[in-house]
Symmetry: C2
Subunit: 375 residues, 2 copies
């Protein structure tokens, strides 16, 4: 038995029937949130930690759903007994965000007003809408104030937004490989991903489920773009180099032997296209593009002045999608706002994906910080 694992876990679903008004003005009349919890909430309710997921993440962050589940949750390296997010100390909550495709209400859910699948008509959430939904989940779970809100990438943006929107409900905020807002290059990569999906004839204006099609090729391409940009040049070089596929049967349509990186990307893209919803992908990337800490065009220093928590900001040396420079902008704004912040740039070869990986120095820094959190 693996004593550092949370073991077998089961997701739960909470239903909410108070309408939720989104930042864009749309309203979601009722919704479900699917989530998992690891560890026990203490009597004071003071040891709760919220995990916010990134673009293609979900609620299943640690442990396994059954003994024979092949892979653990997506952040099992960080969450568990004795791990940095220590379930012996913390009550950890991990949910799937609204608009997701893993059990929370999203584009694949039924729109009660029409009796049909929401599809592309699902209202576009912004990061603050996710935070509002998470706050209602906290209410339901009896959590007045999070010991910490933690997230990587888009999850880090949710964590920072928590600290501004509910300053008295967050004691520590951990933003990993995040940014105050996306760069033009980042938006451009997301636009390519969306364009790949939208120009797939299976897209059908987003009504692919109703039309019984799937924009599988487009979604696969979108994933391939993400995959490359989340890895560093070095990481790809050391994983694939310029090796050609070794075995027969790996030739491309013209009978040429392919580079391993080509077939790997195609495989990953094709697999993703069978397990992820295209409308969710479009919606999540749009939320990411439009994120701008404190509101469109806001001064992040002014925004952070509203906060009351302690911050940890982490970045990875070879992350070029959300580079250390972007994290330093967060730190600079926090310092200018005279807020307490710790920062570390982790030397790691794995690019943006590093935040998901068991990099010893990364885990050590996160662990040391969370040890300081009083529960």
């Amino acid at each position: 038995m693996d004593t550092s694992s949370v073991g077998i876990v089961s997701p739960r679903v909470e239903h909410f029937d108070t309408p939720l008004r989104f930042a864009t003005g749309s309203e979601l009349p009722a919704y479900d949130l699917i989530f998992e919890t690891y560890g026990e909430l203490n009597a004071a309710g003071s040891n709760a930690v919220l995990i916010c997921h990134a673009l293609s993440g979900h609620h299943h962050a640690a442990g396994r759903h059954s003994e024979d589940e092949r892979k653990t949750g997506w952040w099992d390296v960080c969450i568990g007994p004795g791990k940095p997010i220590d379930t012996n100390r913390f009550f950890v909550v991990s949910l799937n965000n609204l608009g997701g495709c893993h059990g929370s209400t999203g584009p694949t859910s039924i729109n009660p007003a029409t009796g049909e699948v929401w599809g592309p008509e699902f209202p576009q959430p912004q990061v603050e809408d996710w935070v509002d939904a998470q706050a209602r989940l906290a209410d339901r779970l009896g959590i007045d104030c999070w010991a910490a809100v933690i997230g990587g990438s888009l999850g880090g943006m949710q964590a920072m937004t928590w600290s501004l929107r509910y300053p008295d409900r967050v004691r520590h905020c951990v933003a990993i490989a995040a940014a105050l807002k996306l760069s033009a290059q980042n938006i451009a990569f997301n636009e390519i991903a969306r364009r790949a999906i939208i120009s797939d004839p299976g897209w059908c204006d987003g009504h692919y489920l109703r039309e019984n099609t799937l924009p599988a090729q487009g979604l696969a391409l979108a994933r391939m773009v993400g995959h490359i940009t989340y890895l560093s040049d070095n990481a790809m070089a050391s994983r694939f180099g310029r090796e050609l596929q070794a075995s027969e049967g790996d030739e491309d349509e013209d009978g040429r032997r392919e580079f391993q990186v080509e077939s790997y990307l195609r495989y990953q893209g094709a697999r993703f296209s069978t397990v992820f919803d295209a409308n969710t992908y479009v919606l999540m990337t749009r939320a990411l593009d439009h994120f701008d800490l404190g509101g469109p065009g806001a001064d992040p220093v002014d925004a952070f002045r509203r906060s009351q928590c302690d911050y940890l900001v982490l970045s990875f040396s070879t992350d070029w999608r959300f580079s250390p420079a972007r994290s330093r902008e967060i730190v600079d704004a926090l310092l200018a706002a005279e807020r307490p912040v710790s920062y570390a740039e982790i030397v790691a070869d794995e690019g943006h994906d590093a935040f998901l990986l068991p990099i010893p120095r990364y885990l050590a820094v996160l662990d040391a910080y969370l040890q300081r959190v009083v529960t």
Copy 2:
């Protein structure tokens, strides 16, 4: 009148009916090469400079085809009277490579064996095949030895290959923003571009002309990927920032105002898809992926020992597709092979695209080097 321009130019076409055997074993029975020349060949035939084009380039490198042509040739900033590639001194030759779509024989040409358009059956050239075809063009023009062979990106790979394949026919080799070979990341971006084209239903296995379709969306996507990766993050930030489209009518399909970078990329992609051939794009990226100086897996130091010319290697500080590190690998191999080489890394914000732009220090370094070339 612009005295620094080569003025109005006209392309010429030479027909070759001696079969050309490609590195892959395929044979092109006969072919045309379209090219332009600027300046005059001197009596000794010693002042000829060959320009090799990059992925989506062509023969029209300088001047205009007519008074009312809106844009000049693609390298007009470098080629002309008094410019670094000085047409008062040099006889400059610029051609469209085999497999291209601007007048040289390529996938849109008629296959004499079938009487139909070559399409995807056009034999896949490698960089050395282009160099062989260029050598025959040199023979035809009475050029025994180039004063210089110059190219950026894929063009730089052709220039280096000239120096190995015809060591006694090149006196100077200028490789700008090039590499000894592509990285896994580079191959991966090219694979995404190809996949976008190939998964477009208008692709029709490459027989889109016969089927009267076009993989326009796929080609546009491919161009968008190229466009982002040829620009630096900073260049995109200063050009677009996070500005939204200002005017009405620029909303996306859901009525949202878009970021300027999104509509710019879409416009560029759509325009490219109407002027460039998809089979050519696939073929050019494959040649790029498979380039490996001196042959697959060869030691570049051994390869360069065959050369007899003087080298100039240039890179740009923010070029992340063919980074300065890649250029330094070229320089290191040349030094290890005890070959004469000058190197400069130009500080420029424009990424890979910098090699096409009028960056004063870049033009000054190129000019100073070419001043030393005896004609």
